[in-house]
Symmetry: C2
Subunit: 577 residues, 2 copies
């Protein structure tokens, strides 16, 4: 490709709505242009990256035996009604009517359609296992689209769906996809972790996320540097920090804590460690009949509630909300900030985190404004909790669940997700096959997504510097940029640049020749922003000495390389990206 | 690819709604599966063909210097309001609202978005010319989707848009695309014609359609076998068949023609040639103010009205409709079937086709039920027409417009269309650039479409026999199928088939090895239906003689070929497809 025949329009400044680095750099380098909120044009430069990402995915999916097909963007509502998701899905599901008034959706994902295909196409166990995938436009009508391609509304996703005759076979299919994903993200040159994850609303019972490590990530990843353990913080079990409960040794004492409604303020006021305090969180559930039920959850003052774990507590697993102030006053006789499990006005179910259940002489709200209780002890001052369970997020330094080391925490951007679905969809859509005995059986399903366009943003978050993007070679829009300095004036420059361009192309290198005759400063800044791994500068001064300049994008100083050696050294330098 | 690892599900019968051959064969071979009216899943077999079609298009577009980008499926209504098409487009434009109530459309085409990109990205004449294209999902909410992928609602289209600084440059861009299209459809192995076409509602002033010749085609193509002339019948000028008007020689005579409301019936009743009759067509226009205006169009009895030409008549070029019976009775005092230009009750504008204007002693309706007039002559019996112009479709045998031969007519399926748009969209969206003199000028535009998914149907309409599809090699889902007969039983068959499979793959042949251990009859019928150009049969009997069977899809008898020679002969046979 020649730059004069390509479309390069970089911007000095990113628009104001670009809040994060990848969004800013994609706008500035001209990879994307905004069409509407969360809807972007992929310009030629951006599309080159997307195509390389897709190519790697397609190769590894094919190698793993998955079959590519293409399901439509517009899907009939009937199938979504059959699965129940027409009701369950919120406003993120974009719904519309055709000219005859029939309901359709813009697909956010394709479980329904693929299950419909499977029930029509697959009759016998002989046709199983099978794994279908497509790379297709998706739409999720996010309430607040932002971060460019990271949380857009229209985006490209690869989604695969496996169908198996039994659980054992389905778990093999899951593992095949897991392994393929490891290869895919490795080939892209990304630093990532596969982490155990919650299965969430999509259903199913086993799940891993593939998280690209980046400070901007919305997910917290918990891992053990000493082992292979890694999980989304949503799922990572938190240990009990106190092996056994010690005997009470302080009297129960109501203590004035005026204005100290948070544990941090109470600990500071009383001069005690935060780990001596207990925070009270009041939740409510709305049963189908009767008034709301109120629950009290107790966590150590320095810990945070994990809502995924909370949602798995029997009684809370059909949905919960934070209690209203009226409900709180009704049960505790006190406004929030000073609540506790001792002497409630109208006692509620009390759930204690594992650690809280083993605390002694602790501090909690007194159910009286501006007062806390110190020296609180289970059994002596209040009944044992109704339930003791893991309610909190792990923190750095917690013991790893595999017992090998202590946990560390990183932020990650989810770019892939594998789910073992079981029969959730095959049951809803009655997708059966005849087993070896000739009896109908439900297909065991898995689903496997990769956010194609999000990968581009995640890769940039992980690979950039102050000047611009620093692409891993595998997904760079170009591998090499040849900057011809003085193109217009110097035949020697043109000849040397053209020869090098031809030589690199012949070696299969994805190279762009910058023949735009720009000033070197402008040209260099543009390629630093766009970020191909290698930049070669061909200029008259160097040519007089028989050399060109070779610069890796991560290097600060260019190497002077003899013309005859340039191709070889370029290939070697590329190997390091 | 091995058939055991692929998804092949052929059907004995096509569903009832499959009215045409390509639809039936695509359903039966398992290329597509219907999801909703006009919305199809492209199954792995069908997607292979689509990908080959896309690959050829992409290669030739890139070679022609066009730049690929990707514009979204969901587009904001604002741009469509700016161009005026939000109002003009009928219910084929699927409109919807997002969660915030903002209007969006599912793109049927992308003139608005690309023009928006151009006005933002292109500031200077130095950035021109440029041609952007994408291959993307389109949606047109057809009232009556049918014929499978031929007139679907969701489909894949390649659309390109050129931007130039002036008309001369735009015409060069147009020619570059025209040439690229010739290469694209030639490479696909299709028999097609590039024909002059009407520019229709998309605007612009020059246009060619690329029509795949097929009996089922909805378009009539007029061509001169003796020259390069070819046009859509909508556009082909029809000659005047009478060089001059002869003098009146028969008396004007009201003649009873009871029940003969059509020219054919009148001619038969009166024993005159159909070419002596004149048919009256009454149209109406609805001006912004005042009552409808009624027009009378006169065509020779054996000719057909060309509505595109009619729509270009001054006064009718802002839209017309057929007159209501009430309007007809008001102006002619008679119900339809017996109308004519002589002695109207309330005279209307009369437009005569070129040939009608030179007729003498002709027959037309008498404006009296069950009566026609014979011996009608211009000037003597009625005033000269208000306008004489070409109103009719050409017929076989008409003189070609280039004067070289006589016209023939074929049916075609439109698979590509190139338009010179001029400044229609750049004016509406104010897409200007600074010219060499530093003054803002409107960009000259062209647009260029190819119906990717429709090509698949068109190719099948043109290439099939009673057994199934007969693919041109370039877009066949597989080039070669190796049928291993007795796979389960015979090690010799397995070894020979595997060796051949490996050899052909190494030569770059797209080959599928049928290792499903099916009975030969079933296997052969399936591959005849699916239609790869070459089938190789490896069986124990042949192997005993050291031969396999090689069969081209168009051949009826297989050749016995020595194993050692099979690869070479397969490659040679493939060359003929």
């Amino acid at each position: 490709m020649r730059a004069s025949a390509f479309h390069i329009t970089t911007l000095k400044e990113a628009p104001n709505d670009a809040e994060i680095t990848s969004h800013r750099l994609m706008m500035r380098s001209g990879m994307i242009r905004k069409l509407a909120g969360g809807i972007y044009n992929y310009m030629p430069l951006g599309l080159r990256v997307i195509r390389k990402v897709e190519h790697i995915i397609r190769q590894e999916m094919d190698a793993a035996g998955a079959l590519e097909l293409l399901m439509p963007v517009v899907q009939p509502a009937e199938l979504w009604m059959e699965s129940g998701r027409w009701e369950q899905y919120g406003p993120e599901l974009l719904r519309m009517k055709d000219r005859h008034g029939r309901d359709f959706v813009l697909q956010p994902t394709s479980e329904e359609v693929i299950t419909d295909i499977a029930r029509n196409e697959i009759q016998s166990w002989r046709q199983l296992p099978v794994n279908f995938y497509h790379i297709q436009t998706k739409f999720r009508d996010e309430r607040r689209p932002r971060f460019g391609v990271m949380r857009g509304r229209e985006f490209t996703m690869k989604d695969a769906y496996s169908f198996d005759r039994d659980v054992a076979s389905a778990q093999k299919s899951y593992q095949v996809m897991f392994d393929a994903y490891m290869k895919i993200f490795s080939r892209m040159g990304l630093t990532f972790r596969a982490v155990s994850a919650d299965t969430g609303s999509i259903g199913g019972s086993q799940s891993h996320e593939f998280q690209v490590i980046a400070d901007i990530g919305e997910d917290l990843i918990v891992y053990d540097p000493a082992s292979s353990y890694a999980a989304n913080i949503e799922l990572a079990p938190a240990p009990c920090l106190l092996t056994q409960r010690q005997a009470a040794s302080a009297p129960l004492t109501p203590t004035p804590t005026p204005g100290a409604a948070k544990c941090e303020a109470v600990a500071e006021l009383l001069g005690t460690p935060l780990s001596q305090t207990v925070k009270s969180i009041v939740l409510a559930t709305d049963p189908e009949k009767g008034p709301a039920q109120v629950w009290l959850l107790l966590l150590r003052g320095d810990h945070e509630l994990n809502e995924i774990k909370t949602g798995k507590v029997p009684g809370l697993n059909k949905g919960f909300r934070f209690a209203t102030e009226a409900e709180i006053i009704e049960h505790f006789g006190c406004k929030p900030g000073y609540l506790g499990p001792v002497k409630m006005v109208k006692p509620v179910k009390v759930i204690a985190d594992l650690t809280v259940a083993n605390m002694h002489n602790f501090i909690c709200g007194a159910n009286q404004e501006d007062f806390h209780l110190t020296g609180v002890n289970w059994a002596r001052d209040l009944p044992e909790p109704d339930l003791i369970t893991d309610l909190r997020n792990v923190v750095e330094g917690d013991q790893a669940p595999d017992g090998k080391g202590t946990l560390a925490i990183q932020r990650g951007i989810e770019v892939g997700h594998v789910f073992y679905l079981g029969t959730k969809y095959s049951e809803a859509l009655k997708a059966t096959f005849l087993d070896e005995g000739g009896k109908p059986a439900l297909m065991e399903m898995g689903c496997y997504g990769i956010g194609v366009t999000r990968i581009v943003g995640a890769a940039i978050e992980q690979n950039h510097d102050a000047k611009g993007i620093v692409w891993p070679r595998a997904i760079a829009p170009f591998e090499v940029a040849i900057c011809a300095v003085g193109w217009g004036k110097s035949q020697a420059v043109r000849d040397a640049a053209e020869a090098l361009y031809a030589e690199l192309k012949a070696k299969g290198v994805d190279v762009i020749l910058d023949d735009r005759d720009l000033r070197p400063g402008i040209m260099f800044a543009e390629w630093e922003l766009i970020g191909p791994p290698v930049r070669i500068t061909v200029g008259e001064r160097g040519l007089n000495d028989g050399v060109i300049e070779l610069l890796g994008r991560k290097q600060t100083e260019a190497a002077r390389v003899p013309l005859s050696d340039c191709c070889t050294q370029t290939l070697a330098l590329l190997e390091t990206y």
